[in-house]
Amino acid sequence: MDLGFSAAEHAFRDEARSWLAGHVPATPLPSLETAEGFAAHREWERTLFADRWSVVTWPEEHGGRGASLVQWLLFEEEYHAAGAPGRVAQNGISLLAPTLFEHGTDEQRARVLRPMASGEVVWAQAWSEPESGSDLASLRSTATRTTGGWLLDGQKTWSSRAAFADRAFGLFRSDPDTARPHQGLTYLMFPLDAPGVTVRPIGRLDGKPAFAELFLDEVFVPDADVIGEPGQGWRVAMSTAGNERGLTLRSPGRYTAAAERLAALWRAAPAGTDPALGGRVADALTGARAYQLFAYAQASRLAAGHSLGAEPSLNKVFWSELDLALHETALELLGPYGALSDEAVEAPAHGSWAEGYTFALAGPIYAGTNEIQRDIIAERLLGLPKGRR
């Protein structure tokens, strides 16, 4: 049992740290959920990609560094400690790319991955539908065979980044006559500016258009944009779902950095601050450290040839609740200033606590609600019987 890092890992960390020190914008970019901020974040992705820091774990041929999972964890620690911008390319990188690596064709990888990693093409997800949220397999949007491809019809919703993104990926029902809802689904990629696509941005809780509804009316998609076999979409998508809720969507570095900032806030708190808040700060520090160590253990197990099975569900519940508790404590420590939105001129830390809080509120909902995750934990990790949801 060893928590020490190799010389190569130290060198990788140091290289990342010095690059970040020279490139991270001195003041935070505008919120990526605004048109102006989206453009600025897209530009940041280009900067990252130019020096091969956008997708460090990808093979070099696709613009990565072939880094190990451990190196990626270290990069993420440095990235968040440096206060670097949020990743507008995240959905593509953490959800679509793993699916392409596992189920895509060489042609798809050659065509899709580099523009994804450079921010040239920003991807939105198109999973949920108005009547299909947690029960995703009940989805009704269709893909109908046509010459050379498919026609998409229906409605998708809660599509993160879709207000400003270029393309989307999701599941469509290609065979309406199957015995079970998980069958007859096909995984497709499609452009958001294609004829027949209407994007209606939806304001999240603070009004920013962080997601959108997509109305699809005979949207043509060529066969080349089907991932995996038609009708096998559920199986193809589930490899993505594990990545989303587990490590790769939310690395521990995000929380260790935020917890350190919270501790700094606590140390700077005015005399007379409720000491009980200190306990919550300690819990945030401990929780972030726990998740970091848990991830190190997972990376070690993966390196030893084990698989994680349903374990990423533990990660998802833990980081989403940690994030929320951490930000709630921060707002309380900020006292009257904790009431200010990130757009307020006087918002502390350029509004990053307010923005982080709003973002954290969604954590227990997206990527499979925490209720669904707890069902998975109980049934697949503890072996409890399936029951009514």
Partner: protein, 331 residues
């Protein structure tokens, strides 16, 4: 970086688990609670034989060397089986005496006298440092009492005060002779406290694992409304939360053990974080076990009570969560 137990460490845990599972621990614990220590001391000898106490004793005192990771592995198993007795206090005493011996202080002779006997399982020690009561003083061969720069040894104690966990017998150490009066005493006591915290955290983790396993088994088998209890979502979610708490506390415990092993400056903070997290996770699991067993879980007849009643004192012994959080904030 390979943050995984080695095959040898896993095998050590499996061997202890197997040995304790067949050793009649619940009966020994019940006897211990009534003041009958014989079965408990027999168990103690088997733990010594398995090498548990030697893990806190340097080789020059006939121990296995100071091995905090292996010690944590062992104490997870002691917690899993709700082993009675001042196991934590004895290994913490070993850490204390070792430090005192290293400092060349007046108590060095005591280190030479006791450490080989601790490793062999012949001496059971309790330790009171900044607390009014010593655990199981009535069963121990001696109690070490630390106050500031002074440490006393005593065989005398006041009447046993019944505790919420009857297996944990508390009494006031009385009188005794001064073993050492030296600035090294308080430093050694701080080190001993960290080791006690680490071992207690590991016990909490193992205790929680056992409670979770027992409760999962119960809700799979117990039927109401014609379905297993475990098919109800409210039941599932409580158990899922228990698992999350334990799974995320475990790496804190082993990282703290590594920090202690390395003598890292962060060791005190890491041990405190592990203690708070594991103590809370173990106790939360006990609450879930109690709730999901229903009325039968609220009886002392069921052996489960031996685990349920231990969760709270383990959470609070050698540093309550509040004290540990304060330590975490100190950095």
């Amino acid at each position: 970086m390979r943050f995984l137990l080695t095959d040898e460490q896993r095998e050590f845990a499996r061997a202890l688990d197997g040995m304790l599972g067949a050793a009649g621990v619940p009966a020994a614990a019940r006897a211990w609670a009534s003041g009958e220590h014989k079965p408990g001391r027999a168990l103690w000898a088997r733990l010594a034989q398995a090498g548990v106490f030697g893990l806190a004793v340097p080789e020059r005192y006939a121990g296995a060397g100071r091995l905090p990771v292996e010690l944590a592995v062992a104490f997870v198993e002691l917690g899993r089986h709700a082993v009675p007795g001042p196991v934590v206090e004895t290994v913490a005493s070993a850490a204390f005496l070792t430090r005192l011996g290293d400092a060349g202080a007046a108590g060095a002779a005591a280190a030479g006298e006791w450490l080989p006997r601790i490793a062999a399982g012949d001496t059971v020690l309790s330790l009171a440092a900044g607390a009014p009561y010593a655990l199981d003083a009535d069963a121990a061969d001696a109690v070490l009492v630390v106050e500031g720069d002074t440490v006393r040894r005593t065989d005398a104690h006041g009447p046993v005060q019944p505790s919420l966990d009857p297996v944990r017998r508390l009494s006031r150490p009385l009188g005794g002779t001064v073993l050492a009066r030296d600035p090294a005493v308080s430093a050694a006591a701080a080190h001993a406290r960290d080791l006690a915290r680490l071992a207690t955290a590991a016990q909490s983790l193992g205790l929680g694992r056992a409670l979770l396993a027992a409760t999962v088994a119960h809700v799979k088998q117990r039927t109401q409304f014609a379905v297993p209890l475990g098919s109800f979502q409210a039941v599932k979610h409580r158990l899922a939360d228990a698992l999350i708490g334990l799974e995320l506390a475990e790496p804190l415990v082993y990282a703290a053990a590594l920090a202690v092993a390395a003598g890292a400056p962060s060791a005190g903070r890491e041990v405190a974080a592990a203690k708070a997290a594991a103590g809370e996770a173990g106790y939360a699991t006990a609450r879930t076990a109690l709730q999901l067993h229903g009325a039968v879980g609220y009886t002392e007849e069921l052996d489960l009570s031996l685990w349920i009643r231990k969760a709270r004192p383990l959470r609070d012994a050698w540093g309550t969560p509040a004290e540990c959080r304060t330590r975490v904030l100190e950095g």
